[in-house]
């Protein structure tokens, strides 16, 4: 099944795109793991998580284990659809440019 290309400005911000890329490959990931993947501070990741959560793209689960609170993140169905659509849109932009460039090159006189 092909995903319809849909550019999503919420997903497109670099850090949020990376968060979605990591979470789209797994069922859920711990906050600390995603922070490590992005190489950002807790506060920066929290800000992006809040934006995605408010957009309905991200679920935040908190669980207590050995008196420590562990936070895990997962993409919602809407979040996966938005990420897949955005990725398809990015690919379409790159592909169209490649097509345009080759067409332009072919039209150039030798």
């Amino acid at each position: 099944m092909t995903t319809a290309a849909r550019f999503d400005e919420i997903v497109h911000a670099p850090n949020r795109l990376q968060i979605c890329a990591i979470l789209s490959a797994v069922s859920s990931a711990e906050f600390a793991t995603v922070r490590e993947g992005l190489g950002v501070a807790d506060s920066v990741l929290s800000k992006h998580v809040r934006v995605l959560h408010e957009a309905g793209y991200l679920d935040v689960h908190k669980s207590t284990s050995a008196s420590r609170v562990r936070t895990s993140l997962s993409l919602t169905r809407a979040g996966r659809a938005a990420y897949d659509g955005h990725l398809a849109a990015l690919r379409a932009i790159v592909t169209n440019e490649a097509f345009d460039a080759s067409a332009h090159h072919a039209a150039m006189p030798n």
Binding site: F7, L17, Q18, A89, L90, A98
Partner: protein, 160 residues
């Protein structure tokens, strides 16, 4: 540090170079995740030693000891799995058609090894059959584990 916060920017306004670097960043995140899920080299060896230990222990022909070794195997596998889950920090769907095939092949190979050791050791009275089967189970488990890791890595890098 956000550079693209305009809420109603059209896709046409995104330069192809910007789109390409965004796709490249996605690939980088996927590669990082793929590298992260690869278990350390001793991980599959530990599983192999646990499986090999249970099989080799049958050479002693003590049901009590066998029951204890099966219990140790179960607890050991559970502890290793739990530790690895904590180390990786993600929950993911490990089984797809390929990894399921490797797992089934591994279980079948171990079962055949045990059946052959039973035939040799119990039926034909050969000494050392279970010990040899236990030793063979170690590399078999390591190969299956590394193979599964590589399949998972390829799946993650492909973005599936």
């Amino acid at each position: 540090m956000e550079s693209h916060e305009s809420p109603d920017r059209a896709p046409a306004e995104v330069a192809p170079g910007e789109a390409a670097s965004a796709i490249s960043a996605i690939g980088g995140s996927r590669s990082w995740l793929a590298d992260r899920i690869i278990a350390p080299c001793w991980y599959h060896l530990a599983f192999g030693l646990l499986a090999g230990g249970v099989i080799a222990e049958a050479e002693i022909r003590s049901w009590t000891l066998f029951a204890w070794s099966v219990a140790a195997y179960t607890v050991g596998c559970g502890a290793l799995g739990w530790w690895n889950q904590r180390r990786v920090g993600v929950a993911m769907k490990y089984f797809d058609a390929r990894t399921r095939a490797v797992f089934a092949g591994h279980v079948l190979a171990l079962s055949a090894l045990i059946a052959f050791a039973c035939w040799l050791g119990l039926d034909r009275g050969a000494h050392g059959a279970f010990l040899a089967a236990g030793v063979l189970a170690v590399p078999l488990t390591v190969v299956a584990g590394r193979w599964t890791d590589n399949l998972l890595r390829a799946r993650l890098q492909a973005g599936q």
